[in-house]
C-alpha cells in the first residue's frame, strides 16, 4: 500500500533524443493516492498501457522518476517493486491447481504456509472460486481463467498497488458487469490502490473514483466521473466520454454570446481572456440541448434521424454543414423537420485550441 508519485515520467520507443511529440508517453507528473480506485481511460495507442507497464517495471521509462511513498523505485526490477498486475489475456500456470495458482505469488515470496492457505481461501471466496480450488487450472473457461488471474493479482495484501490492463476484454458481457462490481467490492474490502486501464468508458466510470483520460500520450483530464461529464477539460474528453459525445461547434465568442454559423447562443459567463489566434469552439453535451418547436429566437436545425437509446432519445441534427445531437423529450418530430434548439447556458463550455477556458461570471 503506497502513494505513487510520477515525476516528469516519459517514454519514447525510438530513443530519448527523439522529438517529444513522437513520445509514446509525453512527460507526465501526477500522484496516485493510497487506496484510490483509478481508471486510465483512452483509445488504443494513447499510451495508457505504457504508463501502467512503467509503474509495474515491465517497461523502463526514458526519463523521469517513479516514487512509492516517496522512495525512488525507478531503477528497481518488477520483482522488487511489490506490485501486482493483471493482464488483458488470462495467464494461468497449467500444471498447477487453481489454489496453487492463487498461492504462487505468495509462495515465491516465502510467505508461511498457514498464511498462504488463509489468504487463498479468502480470495477464492471473494471471486467465487472456492468449488474449483482443488482442480487443475487447465480446461477452464476463459472467464474462470481470468478470475484466477485477477485472484493472483489480489492475493497479496501488502502490494503497493494492483494494476489492471483491460482485464475484462475476454469476458462475456453478462459476466463483465458481475466481475466489475466484484472488483469494486474487492477494492472496498481489501483497501488496495487500484489502477484500471480500459478503453471502455462504462468500465472506467463504474469502477473508478478518479478517471484519468489519456489522449495521444498525454493526460488530458483527471477527475471524478461527474467532473468529466459536466466539465470536460478538453474537447477529446467531451466526445470520448458520453454517448453520444459532446457537440463541439466552431464559434466566435464575444461578451456572453457565442456566434455560430446558424445563429447566436447565450452563454452563462463571459470570456474576456480568450487567446488571440486560437481556434475557438463551444462544447455542449446533447443532454443539455433540447429539441423544441422552431421559434425565431432559437437556433434552427434540420433533423437527420432520431436514435432511440431506450433511456433517452437523441436527434441527429444539421445546421448547415455542422452536425450535432440533441435530446428529444416531447413529441417525436419526423426526419427532415426543421426544429429549434434550446441550449442550457450553464452547460455550454468554451474551448480554445481544444482546451477548456474558464469564464467570468
Amino acid at each position: 500500500m503506497a502513494r505513487i508519485d510520477l515525476v516528469d515520467l516519459a517514454k519514447s520507443y525510438s530513443g530519448e533524443a527523439a522529438d517529444v511529440d513522437s513520445y509514446a508517453l509525453k512527460p507526465l507528473s501526477m500522484t496516485w493516492r493510497q487506496g484510490g480506485a483509478y481508471a486510465l481511460l483512452g483509445p488504443s495507442g494513447c499510451g495508457k498501457t505504457t504508463l501502467l507497464n512503467m509503474i509495474s517495471g515491465i517497461v523502463a521509462p526514458s526519463r523521469g522518476k517513479i516514487l512509492f511513498d516517496g522512495v525512488d523505485i525507478t531503477a528497481r526490477s518488477t520483482q522488487a517493486r511489490n506490485i501486482a498486475q493483471v493482464f488483458q489475456f488470462p495467464v494461468i500456470y497449467d500444471t498447477m491447481t487453481v489454489a496453487e495458482n492463487l498461492a504462487f505469488p505468495l509462495k515465491n515470496r516465502g510467505v508461511p504456509r498457514p498464511q498462504i492457505d488463509a489468504r487463498v481461501a479468502e480470495i477464492g471466496r471473494l471471486l467465487d472460486l472456492t468449488p474449483h480450488l482443488d482442480r487443475k487450472a487447465t480446461r477452464l473457461t476463459a472467464d474462470a481463467k481470468q478470475k484466477i488471474s485477477l485472484g493472483r493479482g489480489l492475493v497479496r495484501s501488502d502490494v503497493s498497488a494492483v494494476l489492471f490492463d483491460e482485464p475484462l476484454t475476454v469476458i462475456d458481457p453478462h459476466l463483465k458487469w458481475e466481475l466489475r462490481s466484484k472488483l469494486k467490492a474487492l477494492h472496498k474490502a481489501l483497501d488496495l490502490t487500484m489502477i484500471y486501464v480500459t478503453h471502455d468508458q462504462t468500465e472506467a466510470l463504474t469502477f473508478a473514483d478518479t478517471v484519468v483520460v489519456m489522449h495521444d500520450g498525454r493526460v488530458v483530464q483527471s477527475g471524478t466521473p461527474e467532473e468529466l461529464f459536466n466539465r470536460p477539460a478538453h474537447t477529446f474528453v467531451g466526445y470520448f466520454i458520453g454517448s453520444p459525445g459532446m457537440n463541439v461547434l466552431p464559434a466566435a465568442v464575444s461578451g456572453r454570446e457565442a456566434r455560430l454559423d446558424g445563429g447566436v447562443i447565450t452563454l452563462d459567463r463571459s470570456y474576456p481572456a480568450l487567446p488571440a489566434g486560437a481556434t475557438i469552439e463551444i462544447g455542449v453535451r446533447p443532454e443539455f440541448v433540447e429539441v423544441a418547436a422552431p421559434r425565431p429566437d432559437l437556433l434552427t436545425a434540420r433533423i437527420e434521424r432520431i436514435d432511440d437509446l431506450g433511456r433517452a432519445r437523441f436527434a441527429r441534427l444539421r445546421i448547415g454543414e455542422l452536425r450535432l445531437a440533441a435530446r428529444v423529450s416531447g413529441a417525436l418530430p419526423a426526419d427532415g423537420d426543421s426544429v429549434g434548439l434550446v441550449f442550457d447556458p450553464a452547460h455550454v463550455h468554451v474551448y480554445a485550441d481544444s482546451r477548456l477556458v474558464e469564464g467570468v461570471a
Binding site: S56, F87, P90, D94, T95, N108, T138, A142, K145, S149
Partner: protein
C-alpha cells in the same frame, strides 16, 4: 444435409495406392514370403512355417542370442542419447538469444550438423577419432588418455554416443526453441509480477508449454536412434567384436553377409513390428496431449 455420394473420388486415390503398393506393400510381402521359407541355394525353397520366428525369439539359439544382444544394445543406446540430448537440447534452446541478428546466426550454426549426410558424419568422426591422424584421438592420446575406438569397447561406445549427440542435439534444440518462442510475453511478465524465480519460470511456464514439442523430439530421436545404421557402421563397423553391432547392422550381416534370407526376413519383420508399436504408443500419448490442448484453447 446428406453428403453427396461420389465413388469416382476413389480414382483420385488410385495413384497413391499403386505407388505405395509397389514401393512398400509388395516388397514387404516378399519379406513375409522369405520369412516362412528356407533355401539351400539353386533358387529352391522349402516351407519352414514359423520356424525362423521361433529361433529368433529363443535366446538359447545362435540367431536368438544375436537378436537379443543387439536389441539390448539398441535400447541402451537410445536411452543414453535421449537422456543426454533432451536435457541438453532444452538447455541450448533456453540459452539462445530471443531477437536480433544472433537468432539467425544461432539457427544456421545449429542446423549445420543436421544438413550433413549420415555417412559423412560417420566418416568425419571416424577420422576425427583416429589415434594416429585424428585431431580428437591424437590429442587425447597425447594428453595421456589411452583412447582407441577400434580396440576398446568403451571408447567405441563413447565415440558413437558423442557423435550422435553432436549430430542430433540441434534438432531437439530447434524444436524446443520453437516451443519457447510460442509462449506469449504476458506469461513472462506475469511471472515477474508474481515474483517467480528463474527455476519457477522454467517449471511453471516453459516446461509445460514445451511438453508437446518435447514429445515430438523424443519420438523422432527414439525412432532414429533405434534404427541407426550408417554412422556406427562407418565408424566402428559394429566392433570391436560385436560391442556396437546394433539390430540394423546384425540384419545386414545376416541378409547380405551370410545370405540367410529366411532368418533376415524374420528379423526384419520383428524389428519393423517393434518400431510400429513404439510409434503407436507415442502417437497415442501425443494425440491425448493434443486433445487436452485443443479442449483448453477451444474454450478460450
Amino acid at each position: 444435409m446428406d453428403k453427396t455420394v461420389n465413388q469416382k473420388a476413389w480414382l483420385l486415390v488410385a495413384p497413391v495406392f499403386l505407388i505405395v503398393a509397389f514401393s512398400a506393400v509388395l516388397p514387404l510381402m516378399t519379406v513375409v514370403n522369405y520369412s516362412v521359407q528356407d533355401t539351400f541355394g539353386n533358387n529352391q525353397f522349402f516351407w519352414n512355417g514359423i520356424g525362423w520366428f521361433k529361433e529368433l525369439l529363443d535366446p538359447s539359439t545362435d540367431l536368438g542370442s544375436r537378436f537379443f544382444a543387439s536389441l539390448w544394445r539398441n535400447l541402451f543406446f537410445s536411452a543414453v542419447i535421449l537422456a543426454i540430448e533432451i536435457p541438453l537440447g532444452i538447455v541450448v534452446a533456453l540459452s539462445m538469444p530471443r531477437e536480433g541478428w544472433r537468432v539467425a546466426a544461432c539457427l544456421v550454426i545449429l542446423a549445420l550438423p543436421l544438413l550433413i549426410p549420415w555417412n559423412v558424419v560417420g566418416t568425419i568422426w571416424q577420422v576425427f577419432g583416429r589415434p594416429d591422424i585424428g585431431l580428437l584421438g591424437y590429442t587425447l592420446n597425447h594428453l595421456g588418455v589411452n583412447y582407441n575406438y577400434v580396440s576398446n569397447e568403451i571408447d567405441a561406445w563413447a565415440t558413437i554416443i558423442v557423435m550422435d549427440v553432436w549430430h542430433w542435439t540441434s534438432l531437439v534444440a530447434l524444436l524446443c526453441y520453437a516451443g519457447l518462442k510460442s509462449i506469449p510475453d504476458a506469461y513472462y511478465q506475469a511471472a515477474q509480477i508474481d515474483g517467480a524465480s528463474r527455476w519457477a519460470v522454467f517449471t511453471a511456464i516453459q516446461l509445460p508449454k514445451m511438453k508437446r514439442v518435447l514429445l515430438i523430439a523424443g519420438l523422432l530421436r527414439f525412432m532414429d536412434s533405434f534404427m541407426i545404421y550408417t554412422e556406427p557402421f562407418v565408424v566402428t563397423g559394429g566392433g570391436p567384436g560385436n560391442s556396437t553391432t546394433f539390430i540394423s547392422i546384425e540384419l545386414v550381416k545376416i541378409a547380405l553377409g551370410q545370405f540367410d534370407l529366411g532368418k533376415a526376413a524374420a528379423l526384419s519383420l520383428v524389428y519393423n513390428l517393434i518400431i510400429l508399436i513404439t510409434c503407436w504408443i507415442f502417437y497415442t500419448v501425443m494425440t491425448n496431449a493434443g486433445a487436452d490442448h485443443k479442449a483448453r484453447t477451444g474454450e478460450a
